[in-house]
């Protein structure tokens, strides 16, 4: 108890001036940077991330100024990372799971309105110019504009984001350099054309944009006007009205004809991300398949690696094996090689046309054509299990051999005296005692494989694809790789739906972990008694 009086959290006496200065200096810097970032984030409309940064900076300051929180001071960096990179993502995932966030709905409503209303159009009465494109060192573009009015040459210089200025002594040809911008020719010009097609030059009302390859026109006018009272957007070119639909997050045409305005905005869609696969059979079929395969894959991976690992551990544990240590070292090489590399090597070995496995089988005459190890659904599943066995059994072997050595041998002696056969003593002594130590690790291995994205993604990318699925889904996908492609796949991002499935995975893994903790306690009780 005497120990605790000091450690109840009294600020340490005699902290050196230097360390005090360093500490408070770092704290001041953290706060300054955090406040600036919060300012920027709020300006961008990202309130949640600003709040998170605020919590971190404010929390750190309090912890350092209140003596009672002294022990927490030591954890400030760890806790800060945990809040930003673990807790915030969890919050983020939960909140997104109830929205339509994804391609086509990437922005908050106001941002989306800003983007739509920023678009310009060329009115009929606009003035037309010839143009050349120029570029500054920092990458900004500008147009050099010329035209003839009643036979008199006029020229103007129109940079991006700055006001257009007339040129006092106009020349027919654009100058090589002007105001730090240089004239683009050849390939540079071609590259620039792709970028500036949709750019707006000039500032405010006086803007110019490119109309054709020869002509530029000014002034441009706002094409869409937003009316906040009626919550509608009107297209100035044809007078059509688009009404905000806050259920689906888009501005839809009032008369029901034609497409809604892009981009849409983020709205709350309630539970529909979770119920979507119930109402949509095209979604449900593949998802059920993927779920079943995920469970089968994880279970079989754990059991096969454990069985092989245990067998090797038992064999190596025998006193008559010479060179135990060397053999064990050789056997764990698969585990030590970076997994990406191993998986790519297996992909090469199992290649249908060039792979060594197929070539060998064909040379021997066992098969006539290459086996589609990675392209046929059933074979691909087999290959995944095989490769995962190769990757995972050394780990099981190591932990089993550690656990085997911890089993006291007098138990076996007693069993032998009672006349137990080796198999009996393995089943009723070795296995139960082994499971005390290894059991929790088996469950951890199950949850690890449940989310073993790397293996699936590097070996098969989930392929072959399931035909007819409305979102990208494949036969060897597990839940996590399916989710990844929903969010980052080339068929467009659907963060809302991906987040919903992520939450389901969260729940499943958490369930298994609760189960594990319970068994952990039971096993510990067993081992205490033993």
């Amino acid at each position: 108890m005497a120990v605790n009086t000091k450690q109840k959290g009294v600020a340490p006496g005699g902290a050196s001036l230097f360390s005090t200065i360093v500490t408070y200096g770092a704290l001041a810097l953290l706060n300054a940077v955090a406040l600036t970032l919060i300012y920027g984030l709020l300006d961008m409309g990202n309130v949640p991330l600003a709040v998170v940064l605020g919590i971190i900076a404010f929390g750190a300051t309090i912890i350092f100024f209140v003596p009672r929180f002294y022990p927490i001071r030591w954890m400030v960096p760890g806790l800060a990372f945990m809040i930003l990179l673990v807790l915030y993502p969890i919050y983020f995932t939960v909140s997104n799971a109830f929205t339509n966030y994804g391609d086509g709905h990437l922005y908050a409503k106001q941002q989306s309105i800003n983007l739509i209303t920023a678009r310009k159009y060329v009115p009929e009465e606009a003035n037309v110019y010839r143009w050349e494109v120029m570029q500054a060192d920092d990458g900004r573009y500008a147009l050099y504009l010329t035209r003839e009015v009643n036979g008199v040459l006029e020229a103007a210089f129109a940079p991006e984001g700055e006001s257009i200025e007339p040129i006092a002594e106009p020349t027919e040809e654009a100058p090589e350099t002007y105001n730090g911008f240089r004239l683009l020719t050849g390939a540079d010009r071609t590259t620039a054309l792709g970028v500036i097609q949709s750019a707006v030059f000039g500032l405010g009302d006086d803007t110019v944009g490119i109309r054709t390859r020869r002509e530029a026109a000014r002034p441009l006018k706002d094409r869409f006007i937003y009316d906040s009272v009626t919550d509608t957007i009107t297209d100035q070119t044809d007078g059509r009205v688009y009404v905000a639909n806050n259920e689906i997050g888009q501005f839809v045409p009032q008369d029901g004809q034609g497409d809604p305005l892009a981009p849409g905005f983020i709205v709350n869609v309630g539970l529909s991300n979770f119920t979507r696969f119930i109402s949509d059979p095209g979604l449900r079929g593949p998802l059920v398949d993927i779920f079943v395969w995920t469970v089968v894959f994880s279970l079989f991976s754990v059991l096969s690696t454990f069985a092989l690992g245990l067998m090797m551990a038992l064999i190596l544990n025998s006193p008559y094996i010479v060179g135990r240590k060397v053999i064990q070292s050789l056997l764990i090489i698969p585990y030590a090689i970076p997994a990406v590399i191993s998986i790519m090597v297996w992909r090469a070995l199992l290649n249908q046309n060039f792979g060594l496995v197929n070539k060998t089988l064909m040379d021997v005459g066992l098969i006539a054509d290459g086996i589609p190890f990675l392209t046929d659904a059933a074979w691909a599943k087999f290959s995944i299990l095989l490769v995962n066995l190769w990757l995972g059994y050394p780990y099981m072997m190591l932990i089993c051999s550690g656990a085997l050595q911890a089993i006291p041998s007098d138990v076996y002696e007693a069993a032998a005296v009672d006349g137990a056969r080796p198999w009996q003593s393995f089943r009723s002594i070795t296995l139960p005692l082994l499971l005390v130590t290894v059991g929790p690790l088996l469950i951890a291995s199950f949850t690890y494989n449940f989310n073993n994205f790397l293996l699936i993604d590097a070996l098969t990318q989930g392929n072959p694809p399931i035909p007819g699925s409305p979102v990208q889904a494949s036969y060897t996908d597990i839940l996590i790789s399916y989710t990844y492609r929903l969010a980052f796949g080339n068929r467009g991002a659907d963060y809302g739906y991906a987040s919903a499935i992520t939450l389901v995975i969260f729940a499943l893994v958490a369930l298994v972990t609760v189960f594990q903790t319970r068994f952990n306690n039971q096993w510990e009780k067993v081992s205490d008694n033993g």
Binding site: L41, D43, Y70, A336, I341, M344, A348, S445, I505
Partner: protein, 322 residues
């Protein structure tokens, strides 16, 4: 002690009853060992032979390299490590991997040691809930948070641009070093796991160091910081090494997050680079990939084999990581 000596004695007694049975058993064991060795090592042999086989294509590989001209033995290494650097900046990748792994490891070890020291030496309100919280947070693999992490890094880049407009007096471009497509962003994301299972592992080790050491130093007038830095830190070197090696190998080998974050090939880490190098065309450059794979894998495997006992100890207590 008694147990250890008892084991062979007892088994000898039992086995001696039937010498032939014992011999058969041992022979069967060796057969299984040989099969297991072949299964474990033929892909490894395949990497070696591919790296040395000068034809370089996947379609022409065999398990034993066919080398007619010994001077061409290192062609694949030359092709990847010397000749093609403009297209595939291999040394950049290696350097990036070392930077990312080293910085992540140092930060992880420091953060972990500081937190573990506090958990081990101080009793404070909320200590148990915090420990439980860390345990619970482990349940959520950070791969599941991919979308959020990606968007955070994207926001970092956007906020830098925004601040350049809002506060033009200072250049905020340095922030982009922590955004998408930068090593800083990758390191930042790896820090998600800093306060995790390692903290618990190290706390366990610290608990085994007698508190009397701290107390006598306190009597001598040492501050907590001095005790931690000058007394405890050197004492926990073994566990620091385990956590450090696991963190280093883990981040050096990490691929999924790095691939998502790093876009420019100059910024790729070794694993991302090797993957992208071979992923587009498996046949053509297989030999060069194998050469690169050897360069990448040999140090890691050597480290593993040298420290296998410590690593296994750490792994069995900690997370299962591939």
């Amino acid at each position: 002690m008694a147990n250890k000596t008892a084991a062979p004695k007892f088994q000898q007694a039992r086995m001696a009853s039937s010498g032939r049975e014992r011999l058969l058993g041992t022979a069967a064991r060796y057969v299984v060992i040989v099969i297991a060795l072949i299964f474990a090592l033929f892909p490894v042999l395949f990497i070696f032979s591919s790296a040395l086989n000068p034809t370089g294509q996947l379609s022409t590989q065999s398990l034993i390299p066919r080398v007619d001209d010994p001077s061409r033995l290192l062609d694949n290494f030359r092709g990847l490590l010397v000749d093609n650097l403009a297209l595939y900046p291999f040394w950049n990748w290696l350097f990036n991997s070392f930077v990312v792994a080293s910085v992540s490891t140092i930060l992880t070890v420091l953060i972990t040691a500081l937190s573990a020291y506090s958990f081990s030496r101080f009793r404070f309100r909320g200590r148990n809930s915090l420990l439980l919280g860390i345990r619970l947070v482990q349940v959520f693999p950070n791969l599941l948070a991919l979308v959020a992490l990606y968007l955070i890094l994207q926001q970092v880049k956007e906020v830098a641009d925004q601040l350049n407009v809002l506060i033009p007096a200072i250049s905020w471009d340095w922030l982009k070093f922590f955004g998408l497509d930068s090593l800083g962003g990758v390191i930042l994301v790896y820090m998600a796991g800093a306060m995790g299972i390692n903290t618990l592992l190290m706390k366990g080790f610290l608990d085994s160091i007698p508190r009397e050491i701290d107390e006598s130093a306190t009597v001598d007038g040492a501050t907590n910081w001095q005790i931690f830095w000058q007394l405890i830190f050197p004492l926990i070197r073994p566990i620091l090494a385990v956590v450090g090696v696991l963190a280093f190998v883990g981040t050096f080998n990490e691929f999924v997050l790095a691939r998502l974050i790093l876009r420019d090939k100059e910024n790729w880490t070794l694993m991302v680079g090797l993957y992208n190098f071979i992923n587009s065309d498996f046949n053509r450059d297989w030999g060069k990939f194998a050469a690169g794979a050897l360069v990448a894998a040999v140090p890691v495997v050597a480290l593993y084999l040298a420290l296998q006992d410590q690593i296994v100890g750490g792994l069995t207590q900690g997370a299962v990581k591939g």
